[in-house]
Symmetry: C2
Subunit: 287 residues, 2 copies
């Protein structure tokens, strides 16, 4: 029976993943650090909730602890959004590696882990999964290294392994620091201008519901393994993204373009190649 | 004043590095786990010897502990030659990272660390430093990841950073399990045949004295940083290597070619691009 362990279930994307799985009548084991936070979600009564904090206790069999799940969708990752903090590779990488290793050696057979477009490093253009990675942020390096550790483990242990690289995500529950959350706040406060960067930089955005749907599709299919870009494949400037958002809401605000400088740790213009994703997602109403 | 800390000083290459530094009248701080072993080396009375075992005690300032060296040549690495053991990235990577980080944040300004051609992964042909790495052994992965961690640290801290990728080395003090040591043993025992692989595989070999000289040259120069292949640049078949060795010793033994199968975790035919090395080593009597 399909029984999916979702880590980071109370996070921005995790919440939508749990909802998506329940919509498909899939049994969910949800985990996060804080049960009190979890209780506030609509889905709480419909899942088996088991709290967990990293680092793990190495004496525990986490496969049994989580009621022998058939799949994991591993979203949990501490320390965000401080992408440059060495905590990501000095501590968190290992916490996550030993957590996943414990589950795998104790019997877990299908493993989907969330990666990031920051694994590619300072590369502009259309990024495809087979490109070499060259991360230049502590966060990107930690995720890329976790993937390499798991790929080596994959040669020794029998499990399906899917590594899902997220690009940019927006929607309900997003971080208050994110661009569109800041825009919402400015609109709510009735501000006349919105301070932002030049807005010319090119990114790849998906709504969070779509990200959740894609991750669940990738996780539940058996035909393909390896790395998957989870992206729209449609490059869009940040300025256009903001303008589209305002149009969809029927709102107006003056954009103070160039107020913030561009981030130096991100390429100026990059988006994802979604060819592999499209071969998994057969019926998509989005594109 | 130049004062070089050599880790793994009692190892195969470390011993020759210490000798090479002393030949150049460079002050040496030598370290290894076992002072009793160190005492047996000719150089023991000519160096400052300080024992050290990893993992480090995080409360100690190792820059002071090692008498404020100006340079490090970091050779120490446990667990060899079991290249496939996860110990390399599960433990040893971190032991080495935190050791070097402690020295750097406490004031060390010139850091040379030994890497490996196994960082490149299963790639045949001439390997140059700018090629993307894709290690497929636990040892190669650990070294490659240590390099990436240090490259990130290099963006934050002011030190010269040189990463020296070794290819194959032979000579006095080599592991008893290595090919030419086995050959020596067979000759000593007066055996008629020598069991070996097919011998057609192509590698890049240097004598250990030459490796020590190159590493010291790279470490002491200031003009260039980054990755250096430490190699001959001359591809040679294992069969030819053995034949040359027998000729140089004036010995004969029948080669039982094909007795052992080829290693699956190494590319069949690879060697190093030594262009960058040559630009550092101006006067070389070897090539």
């Amino acid at each position: 029976m399909v029984k999916v362990l979702v880590t980071g279930a109370t996070g921005f994307i995790g919440n939508h993943i749990v909802a998506e799985l329940l919509r498909r009548n899939v049994k969910v084991i949800a985990t996060s650090r804080n049960i009190e936070k979890a209780k506030k979600f609509e889905w709480f009564s419909q899942v088996t909730y088991v709290p967990c904090t990293l680092p793990i206790d190495e004496r525990t069999n986490y496969y049994e602890y989580f009621h022998r799940p058939s799949h994991i969708i591993h979203l949990a990752w501490e320390g965000l959004p401080n992408y440059l903090d060495v905590f990501h590779f000095e501590r968190n990488l290992y916490h996550n590696y030993f957590f996943l290793k414990n589950l795998i050696i104790n019997g877990l057979k299908d493993v989907s882990v969330i990666g990031t477009c920051l694994e590619y490093g300072l590369v502009n253009g259309c990024l495809s999964e087979q490109m070499p990675t060259n991360p230049h942020t502590a966060y990107g390096l930690a995720k890329d290294t976790l993937r390499r550790f798991l790929e080596l483990m994959h040669k020794q242990y029998d499990f399906n392994f899917k590594w899902i690289r997220l690009f940019y995500t927006y929607g309900k529950g997003q971080s208050e620091k994110s661009l569109l959350a800041q825009l919402d706040k400015a609109l709510e406060n009735g501000e006349r201008t919105f301070n932002m960067s030049g807005g010319e930089q090119i990114r790849d955005y998906l709504p969070v519901e779509k990200v959740a749907e894609y991750i669940v599709e990738i996780s539940l299919q058996q035909a393909m393994q390896g790395i998957f870009n989870c992206c729209s494949g449609n490059p869009i400037s940040i300025r256009k993204l903001v303008e589209n958002y305002l149009t969809s809401k029927g709102k107006k605000i003056a954009l103070n373009l160039g107020y913030f400088s561009y981030l130096t740790y991100e390429p100026f213009a990059f988006w994802g190649d979604n060819t592999k994703l499209k071969s998994v997602i057969k019926n998509d109403d989005y594109r």
